[in-house]
Amino acid sequence: MIIIGKILLVISGLFYALGGLGLLRMPDVYNRAQAGTKATTLGTFSALVGACFFFPAWTPKLLLILVFVAITNPVGSSTLLRSAYRNGVKPEKATVDALKEFYEKEV
């Protein structure tokens, strides 16, 4: 069982490194938030599940953290991007922009 936990921990570290690399390489704030949010969510999930394999008695608390991260991480990045769009940060190289019409209509 501990072998599975160790493999999950290494996978978690790998996804964290990928998230940092995505944050470094992507061209604008929207693409950066995509890479960062997805990679860290799966990385944290696999670290928590790996910890369940190491110490099965900790499972309820780890499950609580997992549900909490799954709810709050997308909500946080979504709120940030909405406020970025309202402040006029334009998406670079965008081919379609449906949100522009929506805000013009609202104002």
């Binding site: 690399l21 969510t41 928590l48 110490f55 940030l80 909405r82």
Partner: protein, 83 residues
């Protein structure tokens, strides 16, 4: 051995995010990378709890997660109002 590999990979991730935190062209890049680092630290706290065999660090991870989420929301609202 596994610990060393894990911490090297995580420090690569935090290093790149920290570069974006310092260099980022505008404030939203900085807050996005702060959010990413916060979520990474939750995982690192869980791994440190495994190494130290100490259940109390899991509670620290829960409190850290709640504070990090609040921080992101407050920064987003602050930057939206200010302009």
């Amino acid at each position: 051995m596994i610990n060393i590999i894990y911490f090297i990979l995580v420090s690569i991730g935090i290093l790149f995010s920290g570069y974006r935190l310092i260099k980022g062209p505008n404030h939203f890049d900085r807050v996005v990378s702060l959010d990413v680092i916060n979520v990474m630290i939750i995982g690192v706290l869980v791994v440190i709890a495994i190494i130290a065999k100490n259940e109390m660090l899991i509670d620290v991870a829960i409190a850290y997660g709640i504070l990090g989420f609040l921080e992101t929301i407050v920064f987003a609202k602050f930057l939206e109002v200010r302009s």
